[in-house]
Amino acid sequence: MKTPETFIRYSLRNRLFVLAGATFLLCAVVILVFFPLLNLTLGGLQDRTLRSMKDGAEVEATTIARLLVLEFSSLKGLLQVTPASDTEVDKWIKDLLWEKVTFNEIIEGIELIQGQADVQGRHLTYLFYRREAPELKPMAGPQKIMKSFQGLELDLINSINEQQRVDNALQESVNRGPKQEGEMMLRYMPVHVLLADEGAVYWGVAKIGIDTSRMRQLLLLQSEEQDRIRKDIWLELILSLTISGVMAMSLIYFWVRFITEPLKNLSLVAGDLQSAKPEEFDLWLENLKRVDPQGQAEVVVIQQVLERLGAAVPKLGQRLIDGEARACLGQVMARGLPVLKAWQAELAGLEGGPAAEIRAGLNTVFEDLTRLGSDPEGEWAQLDITPGMERAWRLVSLGLPAEIRRRLELAPLPAVWGSAAALTLAMLYLLNFAVELLPPAGDLGLKAEPTPVGGVRLAVWVSGEPRSPAECQGWLNPFGDPGRIQGSLGPALAAAIAAQHGGVLTVEPREQGGVTFSLTLPPLAADQEFHELPL
């Protein structure tokens, strides 16, 4: 999270949004998983319903067939019929079939098949089918024929004739699928004629066709109903998920926004510190105090800690500046002390003009030092920075080896607004830092000139080994790497003073080696021009 873009992407608020959205999507997926399960359940329900309906229809068919067989069991005339006969009994049986088939909608047809077969394997059969199927011609009426049976049906009839009972396994195989006579469910039942003298005498097989169209209609209805239920449930599921999603995300949005607001504000305020100028520090601190934690303990803790740091930082900075100034003066004095001693020794043996020069030099040094320490608070006023620059130049160049080439170029400068002591210190910091970079027979220069807009530009250059822009930038930001502080704080403090005065300090490597420090101060503002220049 080093850039604003990544901050936005990885902010707590966005993370909470993403998390809430992901949680909702997960829940939605889990809910949607129920739909295939629902399909399976409905499929299972449909299967069970179909099975129970088929079972019910088969039980009904069996019951109807059983009731018919009960009626046939009283037909004693069945025991008298022969293939060749055309008696009243035959007519009676055929009429009975006609009545049963035409008076019962559910009975599609009946065959009464005598158990004994002739030598050709044909069975005496009374039959009548209603035949409502459009592809079949209507049957003229009940018939008595000699009929042959083939395949599974023959096996079933033989089995019934032999065992005098139905065989479910065989009946199942014969009962399925469309029949020649139409679509119907067939039931095969043994027919016993009940006689008081002889008991239940086996006669043959009753083949009864039961109408299954009602069951097919019910199955179709059931299937349509289940499709409708499935569609409705799917629609309701999606609708409820959409509504709940919109509601949930709306609520979550406002909730997340509300609870992350203090942290976001605190983060923005804290982030301002990165680009805050020293003069904006009080404003930053004020902004920090104005952050409303809304009772969030974490925000309160961070805010308090930042406020304590904010209160401590100016004091530490001032101490740092003070310490750096003293250190800088100490370095200057350390370099100048041999010269001063030499002047003192030389002065003891001289009189007259030369002595006066030396005394004048000593006085200038003392005057410069006094001036630097006379205005520690740095009172701000309209001022000419040339004297300060000259003082700084004199102090820094004091004690420099003779082989160092010094060059001072001061053009007449316009007045600027600021603290003379602070600006002199800035010059001193820069020049002292430049001296630290100075090679044994190097060049050191200071140039001051007005800028086209009426400000002042100062340039301190020093020769030496080539420097990289990053190294130069590092001098201005000695705290850039939290792990260590690079070199002197002089350039950084000079930059801070320049910034305090509305100016800017830049550092650039020189092509021939060394670096150039450029400090630019803005021209006087209209309301600053009426102040007098300090004496």
Binding site: T62, A65, R66, V69, L70, S73, L79, G115, Q116, Q163, Q164, R165, V166, N168, M189, P190, H192, L194, L195, A196, D197, E198, G199, A200, V201, Y202
Partner: protein
């Protein structure tokens, strides 16, 4: 102050609790489950003697099983008028589930069993065949090879008593002449020839039924090695030569005794009335009588209220002896025509393990030891359970069992289940007994008539 953080274990515990709560949440919407279906009751064919014994047991034993009998089992009353029509054939042949348990006469057990309508009881652990007297268990077993594809016979009905026709004799008279009960017809005739001339009160040597004479004739016929039906194969075998010969020989044997030992054709009419045989035997008119074993109880009752009876009438049950019906000399077995009923389970009603459990409970109740002991003491029935026989105190019952059904050469066999065969054979047996046809002619006529009806066999 540094406070301890939430430990992972605690976090897991909280998560577990939360998950359990989430899982329990759906239960908030759960109502009570659907009511369980009512327990399946089974239907059985209502039978008056069974009902009578159940009522007695409910009163005597105070057993909740008998007291709640009607709550657990639904009786299906079969009108007497319907029984000749064999009404259950229609239901069973069309795989009806009702009734679940049927009380069936032994021939019906054979027919229904061979048709595959009855549930095998031993293999399915409904009833242990070894608890029954072997002879009667055999009579209620059929071959289900065609249905189950297993060899051997399966017990398909549980008889609650043993009933069969046996030979009653005057034990006091035989003891007086130091004679043993006859083993063969020759011995019987010899005894009659010796005793009858000396015992003037005895009018007849042997009494047999003239109505339903076929029931008495079948054990005689079987004792000559004949068969009408081969029960193992399920085939009609009377027309085969050995069986024809046995039929003729058995009938000839009986006819040879007519007039001298058995009442002659002119007297047979006297015995057409119901109860006429036992009355004649009770009055001391006969040395031997073929009748159902339950007539021992009837004789006991007659003797008990026998005041004012003619001289020579029985005065004590001890005067009555029983033995198996004689056979032809050289035949290994003597036979009894079984008249027992047995409880069978409708194969098509067994659609659920509950049904078979209920059927098992029902059979255990109506065929258990208490039930049979009560029947033995009150009705004079011979128990079919071995352990019940060990506890019977009724001496007449024990005597019947010991002297007849427990005999090693005794075979209890059901008559043919075809009522057509029985009707036709009965008709021509009567013709022969009344002297209107010779045995050979009677058989030929019967076979001829049956051949016409062959499709119904």
């Amino acid at each position: 102050m540094v406070t301890p953080r939430l430990t992972p274990v605690t976090a897991v515990q909280w998560l577990s609790r939360g998950l359990c709560l989430l899982l329990l949440l759906p239960l908030l919407g759960c109502g009570p489950g659907p009511e369980p279906p009512p327990p399946r009751t089974i239907t059985y064919t209502f039978d008056a003697p069974t009902r009578h014994l159940i009522t007695l047991l409910a009163e005597k034993s105070k057993s909740p099983l008998y007291q709640n009998f009607d709550r657990n089992f639904k009786g299906l009353l079969v009108p007497e008028s319907l029984l000749p029509y064999e009404p259950f054939v229609l239901g069973l042949s069309t795989e009806s589930k009702i009734p679940s348990v049927l009380l069936l006469d032994a021939p019906w057990v054979q027919r229904y069993g061979m048709a595959g309508w009855l549930y095998e009881l031993e293999r399915t652990r409904v009833f242990d065949r070894s608890e029954l007297v072997p002879a009667v268990a055999e009579a209620f077993s059929v071959s289900l090879t065609r249905i189950t594809h297993r060899r051997g016979k399966e017990l398909v009905a549980v008889p609650t008593y043993i009933k069969g026709n046996i030979l009653f004799f005057r034990r006091d008279i035989l003891q007086r002449y130091n004679l043993e009960p006859p083993r063969t017809w020759m011995e019987l005739k010899a005894i009659c020839r010796k005793v009858l001339p000396q015992e003037k009160s005895l009018k007849y040597g042997l009494l047999i039924h003239i109505t339903n004479a076929l029931n008495d004739f079948y054990p005689v016929f079987w004792g000559f090695g004949g068969r009408v039906f081969d029960l193992d194969q399920g085939q009609y075998v009377l027309p085969q030569q050995p069986n024809r010969a046995a039929w003729v020989a058995a009938l000839t044997e009986l006819l040879s005794m007519e007039g001298s030992i058995i009442p002659g054709p002119a007297e047979l009419k006297k015995f057409e009335a119901s109860g006429s045989l036992r009355q004649a035997f009770y009055h001391g008119q006969a040395l031997f009588m073929i009748n159902w074993n339950t007539r021992m109880k009837d004789l006991h009752d007659l003797i008990a209220k026998g005041q004012g009876q003619p001289p020579g009438s029985l005065t004590s049950v001890s005067q009555v002896g029983v033995a198996p019906i004689p056979d032809q000399a050289g035949q290994p077995h003597r036979y009894s025509n079984i008249g027992s009923f047995g409880w069978a389970v409708n194969r098509f009603s067994v659609t659920d393990p509950v049904v078979i459990e209920n059927a098992k409970s029902f059979i255990e109740l109506v065929a258990d030891e208490q039930f049979q002991l009560l029947a033995a003491e009150t009705l004079g029935q011979v128990p079919s359970l071995k352990r019940a026989l060990e506890k019977v105190t009724n001496q007449e019952v024990l005597q019947v069992y010991r002297d007849t059904f427990a005999q090693k050469d005794m075979v209890i066999r059901p008559r043919p289940h075809s009522r057509l065969i029985n009707r036709v054979l009965e008709k021509y047996l009567q013709e022969a007994l009344y002297g209107r046809l010779t045995p050979e002619a009677a058989l030929d006529e019967a076979l001829g008539e049956l051949k016409k009806e062959q499709g119904s066999l």
